[in-house]
């Protein structure tokens, strides 16, 4: 698939496949298009060329009579329900408590009953270790706690794919671990995940595939241990020598 902003082509042909239960980590220098690629997966950015499909369904388009038709807003929204996303800057809803953040989409989008949603929301917050912070507003939580609420919020929609856009980049170093622990648990439970990250340790330990991107293209992809210890391309080697 390809993607351009105006005349600038930011994704110059990405060809990747993520299997169910697979954890794919994408690394690369800033401006390499990793985040843009991630945002294309749930149609926060539109794909300009090629095909991108999730669970066999084309993202953002419908193919009919040999032509692509853009999906309506409601159809795009329906597609996004299947895909959870966690942002670098958390993007929690600041006017709602942690629990209200988590139950908002199930109640408003899926039509789950309030009592049921609250029960499930509380269980999710417990799973990310925040049972005692349920009624706090985001500004009363640390960055690591906010990001864990954001993960619980995405999980509340019971997605089959989770996207992480540099989930630990805005955190103090000592708070990174608690977020990675939650993600590790998710991977262990068999969640399909695409993670844009700078945490090479996490990629090596948890990732099934490591993708190195540079300048809008995939330079190298493969087993994380392989890529990290024995990179095949000069560009990968130069990048890794700086970050490891």
């Amino acid at each position: 698939m390809r993607k351009s902003f105006g005349h600038v082509e930011v994704l110059k042909g990405i060809d990747l496949t993520v299997a169910p239960r697979e954890v794919m980590c994408i690394v690369g220098p800033s401006g390499s298009g990793k985040s843009t690629f991630l945002r294309c997966i749930n149609h926060l950015e539109r794909v300009d060329a090629g095909r991108l499909s999730v669970n066999g369904h084309l993202v953002g388009y419908r193919e009919k009579g040999g032509r692509l038709h853009e999906l309506r807003d409601s159809e795009v929204a329906a597609q996004r329900r299947e895909i959870g996303m966690v942002f670098q800057r958390f993007n929690l809803f600041p006017h709602m408590t942690a629990l209200e953040n988590v139950v908002e989409a199930p109640i408003q989008v899926k039509g789950v009953g309030k009592a049921e949603a609250r029960e499930r929301g509380a269980a999710l917050l417990e799973r990310v270790g925040l049972a005692d912070r349920m009624h706090n507003y985001p500004n009363q939580l640390s960055g690591g706690q906010q990001q864990r609420v954001a993960i619980a919020r995405a999980l509340a929609m019971e997605p089959m794919l989770m996207l992480f856009d540099e989930p630990t980049s805005a955190l103090d170093p000592e708070l990174v671990g608690e977020v990675l622990d939650v993600m590790r648990g998710l991977a262990a439970d068999g969640m399909t995940m695409v993670v844009v990250t700078h945490e090479m340790g996490f990629a090596r330990e948890v990732g099934d595939t490591l993708v190195f991107m540079d300048d809008g293209a995939v330079v190298e992809a493969g087993d994380p241990r392989q890529v990290l210890t024995d990179p095949q391309h000069e560009r990968t080697r130069a990048f890794l020598s700086k970050v490891l």
Binding site: R80, R89, T97, M134
Partner: protein, 318 residues
């Protein structure tokens, strides 16, 4: 401080320094006290104020009815104005250039027209058309075209019945307010981090739900303070209803007493005090609204948090 360490040195002595003196404050206080005393002296000694007469007349039935009209008009015009403003702001931010352009034209027109001019115009719409009817556009022309002698109207009213008095005033003020509120609401919506809408979309929320549940509640924090200004401005602008004319309004009633009894100053002062009191009342409302929509932004404890903390405190004492 660890209690078991006998080797730690004694804590440093508490500082008792001479505070900096502020002679400027004392001089300013003295000057202002003298000016205030002069002002009070004038209020008490000048017989033109006629305080007894003012108090006797500023709570007459007609004045109280006028205050009620003024308050009701303020609240109704603001409610319609705010709803209109939200609609226009959303239209203005629409990706559809026709819708956005229409909102721009509305705001352009109604912000440019002085309220007193608008009120006078609305009050005379009965002279433009005697009867206003709503139905299928160009129905009579179309029927003529096909050779029928009929029309298709749903409802209608007489211009001279609707565009008078209170209703005319309300229409004029609300239409004008909608234009100002549209700009305030637009600023509020644009002040919300775009990441919020993105997060809502990523959860599968529709555009409408994202606006109602996520963006607008956060925009309210920015919208409320200038809306408070608008409400107080609206309270004062009800005095313009004389252009309609609406004579049951507060200022007209007070002035009427003043002109009838030739006691102009006492009734003008009464007017000042009335508007001061009503504006203060509205400010109390604004305070509570601001508190409601600042949830999650201050350090205020929520009810659940207070309950949880108390439960913890009780638990730890046992």
């Amino acid at each position: 401080m660890s209690p078991d360490s006998s080797t730690t040195p004694a804590p440093p002595e508490q500082i008792r320094a001479v505070p900096v003196r502020h002679p400027g404050r004392w001089i300013a206080a003295a000057v202002i006290a003298v000016l205030a005393a002069m002002f009070v002296h004038m209020l008490v000694t000048n017989p033109v104020f006629q305080w007894d007469f003012m108090v006797d007349n500023m709570f007459s039935d007609a004045v109280l009815r006028g205050a009620r009209t003024t308050l009701i008009m303020t609240v109704l015009a603001m409610v319609i104005g705010v709803l209109l403003g939200i609609l226009l702001a959303v239209m203005r931010l629409s990706a559809n250039p026709i819708v956005s352009g229409a909102a721009w034209v509305y705001i352009w027109f109604f912000r440019a027209i002085p309220r007193i001019v608008l009120l006078f115009f609305v009050a005379n719409l009965g002279a433009l058309y005697a009867r206003y009817e709503f139905g299928f556009p160009f129905d009579q022309q179309l029927m003529d075209l096909f050779g029928f002698e009929a029309d298709w109207r749903l409802f209608g009213f007489d211009g001279n019945e609707i565009f008078v008095g209170f209703t005319a005033g309300l229409i004029g003020l609300a239409l004008s307010e909608g234009a100002y509120m549209a700009e305030i609401v637009r600023a509020g919506i644009q002040s919300v981090d775009p990441g919020q809408a993105e997060a809502a979309h990523a959860l599968g929320m529709s555009r409408g739900k994202t606006m109602r549940r996520i963006v607008l509640p956060q925009a309210m924090r920015v919208i409320i303070p200038p809306t408070g200004n608008e409400t107080i401005a609206m309270l004062k602008d009800t005095a313009l209803l004389i252009a309609v004319p609406v004579t049951t309004e507060l200022n007209f009633q007070l002035r009427a007493i003043g002109s009838r009894t030739f006691q102009v100053i006492p009734m003008a002062v009464a007017s000042i005090l009335w508007y001061l009191a009503l504006a203060s009342l509205l400010m109390v409302g604004q305070y509570f609204l601001e508190r409601r929509f600042s949830r999650g932004f201050g350090n205020r404890e929520t009810r659940q948090q207070r309950a949880a903390r108390r439960a913890r405190d009780v638990g730890s004492t046992h």
